[in-house]
Amino acid sequence: MNMTLGDLIPLTPLLLVTATAVITMTLIGIRRSYPLTAGMTIGGLLVTTIFAASMIGDTNAQVTPLMIVDHYSLFFIVVTCASAMFIAVLSYPYLFSLNDNKEEYYLLLGVATIGAVVMVSSNHFVSAILGLETLSMSLYGMVAYTVHSRDAAKYPLEAAVKYLVLSAAASGFILFGMALVYAQTGTLSFSSLVDLSNGSTPGLGAAYSIVALLLIFAGVAFKLSLAPFHLWTPDVYEGSPLPATTYLATIGKAGMFVVLLRFIEASDALSFESVVTVLSLVAAASILAGNLLALLQDNLKRILAYSSIAHMGYILIAIIASYYSEGTVSIEAVTFYLLAYVVMSLGAFGVASVVSSSEKEFDVIADYQGLFWRDPWLAVIFTGMLLSLAGIPLTVGFIGKFYLFFAGVEAALWVLLSVLIIGSGIGLYYYLRIVYRMVLPAPEQVSFRVGGMESFSAYGVLSILLLLLLVLGVYPAPVMDLIESIAAFV
């Protein structure tokens, strides 16, 4: 199949992100200017977001066998690019005083976004793995970016190496699984995998299919930091500079989940009972391990790392539910919860990165003592994000939980629902612990200064996120309708 010029039109968002990265690179070559580079990246991502948002209604094209640009991909392109833009804004004050070359950070961020855009619009193993690797490679760089700054994130190099080695191993699993799938079906496109469960196809037999699926799933579970593949998560989150952690925790996870969802929906993988069992066990283990281990932490980044493990487990329940229920509610649940998760994680990490900088990170809970009385607005934002992660009404997290419960009830997954309830109950404790710290009287020796001029735009971003959090929590009907209409495309 030859590509025509017409094929390029649906790819505009991807081309725009790529152009952003290329222009950023050229700019750095011509003139090193931190504000200019950052502005260029933010502007490019903003244009892409707007452009992709305008295309959602009427674009539905398979561009080459590798990429599909339908309503669903475009929705997540918007989410990805908007998040990347928010992270870029939040990074600006963080890196401002870094005593090193800081322009390339935005280049890495741009390239990572290219990878994420490719991932969310792939329905073929080749594009999925290409996108994944582009994203991961750039993330290694972002994680290690402050390596020469002694007081920033404590162990950027350790985090980067850990992430690199384990991530490469996980990619290896995925590739091996892909090879087995190819041996079975002779194709690498998601949509041709329907025959996988059908024992009559020529190939290696059903047992190999199961092995292939489990290998792929293990690799994916690593990237999503699902238990028992989660061990790297807290260390890498803690070791990386905050903006990189934010990127990893939001866009990295959302992109991978979209690939997983498309793969599972296309491949009929859940028709194997053993695969369902494994997925259910992984979901339950992630929820319990994530929530229980978070109880023991005093470091904000580690708490959020464990909580993200739990949240990934929550979403996996909806993925399992999608096999048992007829309608698209479970797919909508995955989509909405991913959106909610991105918003609230961006906010929670964003608050930490506003008060931190590349010179010093404030990521111990005790640093936030009395924030309510020192900077009420920031504390309100943080409280909103934490309550949303806990799934309390008025916030988007509650609507997300509602979706998950609905999907679970429809599919009659009672055991997993009980685990979800227990997990959320445990989760309340560590979220409230942070909130409680913030309402205590401020200590004499305050850890950080609040409300500097250079973080003005970061406050703006956080306020937008809080607004999103509340609007989606109180009147989500328009977004619900949108998600209902795009869910049919998966």
Binding site: F372, W373, L387, I392, P393, L394, F398, F402, F405, F406, G408, V409, E410, L417, I421, I422, S424, G425, L428, Y429, L432, R433, V435, Y436, V439, Y475, P476, A477, M480, D481, E484
Partner: protein
């Protein structure tokens, strides 16, 4: 529309109170009081109507058939007025006690009240759950910020208990909505629609339990009561007033409005167990109350004991018993709130809640002693006061349903006299010693405090002397609620014959 105004006013008043702190630390309490009194006035206009006196239904989340559906009948109106009345009393209790971060305090207070009003009027189950959870967060802040020595533990326990059991209810609600989809082809969370959903067997029992556990935790009933003594003893006085006076009643309201009517058959089957739990609550918590040294913990346990009569009345499910349950809710709201205010007032004056340190206060604070005697006597069920009417009706009704459990529960009245009079004896009578505390601030009730207490006394006397004015309001609601379940009950009785 009037209901939206009632709730919206409180939300708005809360924000205003918070902002007004910037001008002067005394403004928030004035803003809060004006808001609540305004609400109370508006509510009075709801009196006198028949059936659903106010209702509003707007589309909210059409994807799941969720609407913004508020409506109030006689039962709701009674509880709305109780809420606003005690809200005003709570602001009075906080008037001098809360001196730090007043803006945020009154913000939380008003938002809790708004959540409670929502709970009492929501007729869409999603909306109901929404308000059910919304009232938790501000209450958490009230305990966690302005509470006493062990506030973090108490606030956390309160929150986790109510939230986790709330999620069980959410699952049950979703199951109902899903069954509605299976039987009628559309999702719906509308109360009237869901009443038509036919459920049976094991699943109905599970769903009923989801509701029951959530409500029994809030009520609270043994074995879900252990959060209450901690929350009460650690909360500031205004927090205790709201908790005991209003928040506990949301659980009872939920049982009457939702748990039983939605699952009549399962509830009838479950009634003996629920009534047994009620009897255990009454006797066990009365006994535990007697063993307390902390005066607030004592009152907290007596609350559990009194709410046992409510559960007993509800699961007897006949008109007398239900009327009794509702009267007990109202009367206990006033008497428990008053007792908590007295305990809080004492703590504010002498900085201890430990009863062995107290004694002989009658001579020092005669007005307070008389007020305390009045409300203790009310709590133990003296004829002529509201609590008597409520508990008596609940027992008469329950007697028709289950003789033995009623007989056993009636012993609760005797225990109530024992611990009530014991408190009076410990605190106000005997010899006055002040070696264990600083009595330099031990002053009698101020004129402002007397106003609140007299208002509550009038309320209790009114309930005791002319209960008809309250019974008439709830009667029509009860007829409607019971009419729906009647058929199911009858068919069950026939089946068993």
């Amino acid at each position: 529309m009037i209901l939206v105004i009632l709730i919206g006013l409180l939300f708005l008043g809360g924000v205003l109170a918070w902002i007004s702190e910037g001008l002067d630390a005394r403004f928030p309490r004035i803003v809060a009081l004006v808001t609540v009194l305004l609400d109370l006035l508006i509510m009075l206009s709801l009196l006198g109507g028949e059936g659903w006196v106010a209702s509003i239904e707007l589309e909210w989340l059409p994807r799941f058939g969720i609407s913004f559906f508020l409506a109030a009948d006689g039962l709701s109106v009674l509880l709305l007025i109780l809420t606003a009345f005690l809200g005003a009393i709570a602001i009075g209790a906080a008037w001098d006690e809360i001196t730090e971060r007043t803006g945020f305090f009154y913000f939380n207070l008003l938002w809790t009240l708004a959540g409670v009003l929502g709970v009492f009027t929501a007729l869409d189950l999603f909306l109901f759950f929404f308000f059910w959870e919304v009232m938790l967060i501000p209450m958490y802040f009230i305990i966690a910020i302005w509470g006493h020595e062990n506030k973090n533990y108490a606030a956390m326990k309160f929150f986790i208990f109510t939230q986790v059991t709330g999620m069980l209810m959410l699952v049950a609600i979703l199951m109902l909505a899903y069954f509605h989809y299976e039987q009628f082809g559309t999702y719906s969370f509308n109360y009237h629609d869901l009443l038509n959903v036919r459920t049976s067997g094991q699943l109905e029992i599970w769903m009923m339990l989801g509701f029951f556990i959530a409500f029994a935790t809030k009520l609270p009933s043994v074995p879900f009561h252990s959060w209450l003594p901690d929350a009460h003893s650690q909360a500031p006085t205004a927090g205790s007033v709201i908790l005991a006076g209003i928040l506990l009643k949301t659980g009872a309201y939920g049982l009457i409005r939702f748990a039983v009517p939605l699952f009549p058959a399962a509830s009838m089957e479950f009634a003996p167990i629920a009534m047994t739990l009620a009897a255990i609550s009454i006797l066990y918590c009365a006994k535990v109350a007697f063993a307390q040294n902390d005066i607030k913990r004592l009152i907290a346990y007596t609350s559990v004991s009194h709410m046992g009569f409510v559960t007993l009345g509800i699961y007897a499910w006949n008109e007398q018993a239900l009327q009794g349950a509702i009267m007990t809710m109202l009367a206990h709201g006033l008497s428990a709130a008053a007792l908590f205010m007295l305990a809080g007032g004492l703590q504010h004056r002498i900085h201890t809640r430990n009863m062995p340190d107290m004694g002989g206060f009658w001579a020092k604070v005669p007005r307070m002693a008389v007020v305390a005697l009045f409300f203790s006597v009310a709590a133990l069920g003296m004829p002529g006061l509201g609590n008597f009417i409520g508990e008596f009706l609940a027992l008469i009704g329950a007697f028709q349903a289950n003789i033995w459990l009623t007989v056993i529960s009636a012993f609760g009245l005797i225990f109530a006299s024992v611990y009530s009079l014991w408190v009076i004896q410990k605190v106000f009578q005997g010899e006055y010693r002040n070696e264990d505390f600083d009595d330099s601030h031990l002053s009698d009730l101020s004129r402002r405090e007397m106003v609140y207490f007299i208002a509550m006394m009038i309320g209790l006397l009114w309930m005791g002397m002319y209960p008809q004015s309250f019974l008439a309001l709830s009667a029509t609601s009860l007829t409607e609620i019971m009419g729906g379940t009647q058929q199911v009950v009858l068919s069950l009785v026939e089946g068993s014959l």
